[in-house]
């Protein structure tokens, strides 16, 4: 690779800067639509992608600021990020569908910068999985105004909940010790699963008329609001799929018109064990970060070829960092690991851009590098997702929000 990666000046990346007109010159434009360009130009104006054309290196009289790099892709979309803390979930009840994680986010948190450094421009922020049904997640940009509302791409995008042991961890029966806050249900996996079914049946049979979360549950059961269920292990994945199939088949739900829920299984580390189960119901999956040594959370085992297995089985899937701030677990690295497990580049790119965008219902704005979409772009020093490749710049809505550590070594921006 002889091309020098980037030529940027030390721009002061001001907060809330106006979007600029950019000309991005690269050796490779990976659009994510199957149509890729060699020596291409991506033009940006008014915060949107205005053109994608061949012709990098030619004389150009546009008054745009020029950025040069080896490659450009659409900004990465992380469907599993949690830039949240313990105060993001209301633990005084096990089921709190109506509470919004957007009300708990800190627009000033440093986590946003970390995401930008990794090329992630759009994320799903979810409550921490201490509740069975934790509440409403939000899709938002990682860079932009210092206001969650102004950065939101889609409010109330997803209903978030969990199977497995995490919602019951720390709970205990009141018997035998002083009553405290965690003398509460559920205490087991079965209890967690029961809470889900209880909430769904109560909604279908209208037994929770007074419950402030009812409207949210109705929307979820009608398929208007995707349900993201965390399930790491095979048994929890099964429980989630069977729950979906129960809702689809039981007459109570059909009678109420609440039998078309859209499930997405998050953190499905063991999805490789029974891919046909997911293929059967066409239940999409979000994968957690690859562990360094086989086992990951909930003692689940995650195979290196899990992405490849899902691809071959026809199960839609996205990769994610699952909220980890660990450099190893950054989203771009996950795409690289999935490729190491046998997945092709285009599929790996889709798994960190267009597929999560579609799962989150924001594909009309982000996820591919196409004219008219939001100017969320990642500039790479080499082939994206390769171990030696760096993110050299990240643009969100036409604003340069991050420039890589080597960027300042280049010449002044050519005009």
């Amino acid at each position: 690779m002889t091309f020098l990666s980037v030529a940027l000046v030390a721009l002061s990346v001001a907060q809330d800067a106006e979007p600029r007109a950019w000309t991005i010159q690269v050796e490779r434009v990976y659009t994510g639509t199957g149509r890729n360009l060699e020596k291409g130009l991506v033009l940006v104006s008014a915060g949107k992608i205005s053109a994608v054309t061949p012709g990098a290196g030619e004389e150009d009289d546009r008054p745009n600021d020029v950025l040069k790099a080896y490659a450009v892709t659409a900004g990465l979309v992380d469907a599993g990020v949690r830039v949240t803390n313990w105060q993001s979930v209301e633990q005084s009840k096990e089921v709190t569908p109506h509470l919004r994680v957007a009300d708990t986010l800190d627009p000033f948190a440093l986590d946003w910068d970390r995401q930008l450094r990794g090329g992630v421009t759009t994320v799903l922020a979810s409550p921490v999985d201490r509740n069975v049904i934790g509440g409403l997640s939000v899709v938002l940009k990682t860079g932009g105004p210092e206001s969650i509302a102004d950065r939101t791409v889609k409010a109330d995008a997803v209903l978030r909940g969990s199977m497995g042991s995490e919602p019951s961890a720390g709970n205990h029966p009141a018997f035998g010790r002083p009553t405290d806050f965690f003398s509460r249900r559920p205490t087991t996996r079965m209890g967690v699963e029961w809470e889900w079914r209880n909430a769904f049946f109560d909604t279908a049979l209208n037994l929770n008329e007074e419950d402030p979360g009812r409207a949210t549950l109705v929307a979820a059961l009608q398929g208007k609001l995707p349900i993201f269920i965390q399930a790491w292990t095979t048994q929890d994945i099964r429980t989630a799929v069977f729950l979906r199939e129960e809702v689809e088949s039981r007459p109570e739900f059909a009678a109420a018109g609440m039998n078309t829920p859209r499930f997405v299984i998050d953190a499905a580390a063991e999805a490789w064990k029974e891919p046909q189960l997911l293929a059967r119901s066409q239940t999409p999956v979000v994968l957690p970060p690859f562990p360094t040594a086989g086992r990951t959370r909930e003692n689940s085992q995650m195979a290196w070829n899990v992405a490849k297995v899902l691809k071959d089985a026809g199960v839609p899937f996205a990769l994610s960092s699952h909220g980890s701030g660990d450099v190893e677990q950054r989203l771009a690295n996950q795409a690289g690991y999935a490729m190491a497990g046998g997945l092709g580049f285009e599929d790996a790119l889709a798994a960190v851009t267009s597929t999560p965008a579609r799962l989150l219902g924001v594909e009309d704005r982000v996820g591919t590098l196409e004219v008219g979409k939001d100017a969320d772009l990642v500039l790479w020093s080499g082939e994206p997702f390769q171990p030696g490749t760096r993110v050299v710049a990240t643009i969100v809505d036409g604003v340069l929000r991050y420039e890589g550590w080597n960027a300042v070594q280049g010449a002044a921006i050519a005009r």
Partner: protein, 373 residues
């Protein structure tokens, strides 16, 4: 007329007795009115507990006692946050939502701690509910003498910081706290309804800038008025705060406070936001509030802007601008004589007057007053 040269008054109190009811004239080298005006060699006449006249060419009424002061005369300061007189009584850990609770009813107006405030030149204090719940009720503005109430209820306290949360009771989360507040503000009666109608200002308890953002959004949604307390960096969001019309109470600052924080306070002045200073008495020394303002002045805040934050604007924030906070005809005679520039840390309060009554001299609550208790 007996001119009393205060500069010579010694610590042997009460060597001089000042009239409590008769007319009193104070002639000082510098008079800070609190309205931003500085008068030189001006006279203030008080009687019946009120300020009767202020100016440079005031005739001293017949029979009035005269104090000649070779120093500064200002309105008494107003501390905007604290629990003096109600320590331990401003919260209820078994209830996190108790909007109708009134700090004003939990208060011992004759608590000894008020003497410390008087000695420091503080003549009124806003006693505020504890921020350990979602709402701890309403605040009260009282004088630091005899529990004289200026305004009760003064504000409805609403907590947007994580102080409202706990891991072992509702709410554990910011979203849960917000849900409780939203539920409170749908009630047709009670103090929340009064706040919604604009009759009762709110005291928004915040710490981080994210809390300020949430409080501003909540205030806009429910059309609330009031003041933000507790965020060191609120000045960095001064644009949004200015739009909201809310005022700001700056928490106590210290010598170790980062410059960024002091700069943020200066931005409040630049963007025209009304601000005052909190003290969180009795946990902080009574002088800490004046020292906070002095630190801000050292970092670039305007001297008179700082002083107004301690007096006139503090009165505005507490809803008592018609009673106290400035030296102006008709207002309560809540005054302080200073040995030097009040924002000079070496200066002391030489004489403190509340409602026309001398209550503290040379930093010692008047022995005459104390002996009555």
């Amino acid at each position: 007329m007996l001119p009393i040269l205060l500069a010579f008054a010694t610590a042997t109190l009460p060597a001089i007795s000042l009239p409590a009811d008769g007319p009193l004239a104070i002639r000082a080298k510098f008079v800070w009115t609190g309205g931003g005006r500085v008068l030189e060699n001006a006279t203030v006449v008080i009687s019946g507990g009120r300020i009767q006249a202020v100016g440079t060419d005031i005739a001293i009424p017949e029979g009035a006692e005269l104090i000649e002061h070779d120093g500064y005369l200002t309105a008494g300061m107003i501390a905007l946050h604290g629990a003096t007189g109600a320590v331990g009584e401003t919260q209820d850990s078994t209830r996190t939502v108790m909007p109708e609770a009134r700090v004003g009813l939990a208060l011992d107006g004759r608590a000894r701690d008020f003497g410390l405030l008087r000695d420091a030149g503080i003549t009124s204090i806003l006693v505020t509910p504890d921020a350990s719940g979602v709402t701890g009720g309403t605040s009260a503005l009282v004088k630091t003498l005899d529990g004289i109430v200026l305004r009760d209820p003064a504000h409805l306290s609403l907590v947007f910081s994580t102080d409202a949360l706990s891991s072992n009771r509702e709410p554990t989360s910011k979203s849960g706290a917000l849900a409780l507040l939203n539920a409170l503000f749908t009630e047709p009666r009670g103090v929340a309804a009064e706040a919604r109608s604009g009759k009762l200002p709110c005291l928004f308890e915040v710490r981080e800038r994210e809390d300020v953002g949430r409080a501003l959004a909540f205030a806009a949604e429910h059309e609330l008025v009031g003041t933000l307390h507790g965020a060191w960096l609120s000045g960095e969001m001064s644009g949004a705060i200015a739009k909201s019309g809310l005022s700001v109470i700056v928490p106590v600052l210290g010598v170790g406070t980062p410059k960024r924080v002091l700069d943020a306070v200066a931005r409040l002045e630049k963007d025209g936001i009304v601000f005052g200073f909190g003290l969180d008495a009795p946990w902080n020394h009574a002088d800490a509030m004046r020292f906070s303002a002095a630190l801000c002045v050292r970092a670039g805040l305007g001297r008179q802007a700082a002083w107004q934050g301690l007096t006139a604007n503090a009165a505005k924030i507490a809803g008592a601008a018609a009673r106290t906070g400035r030296i102006e005809r008709g207002l309560d005679a809540d005054l302080c004589l200073w040995s030097g520039d009040p924002l000079d840390l070496a200066s002391r309060a030489s004489l403190v007057i509340i409602g026309g009554q001398p209550v503290s001299m040379n930093g010692a609550a008047s022995a005459a007053k104390e002996s009555q208790r």
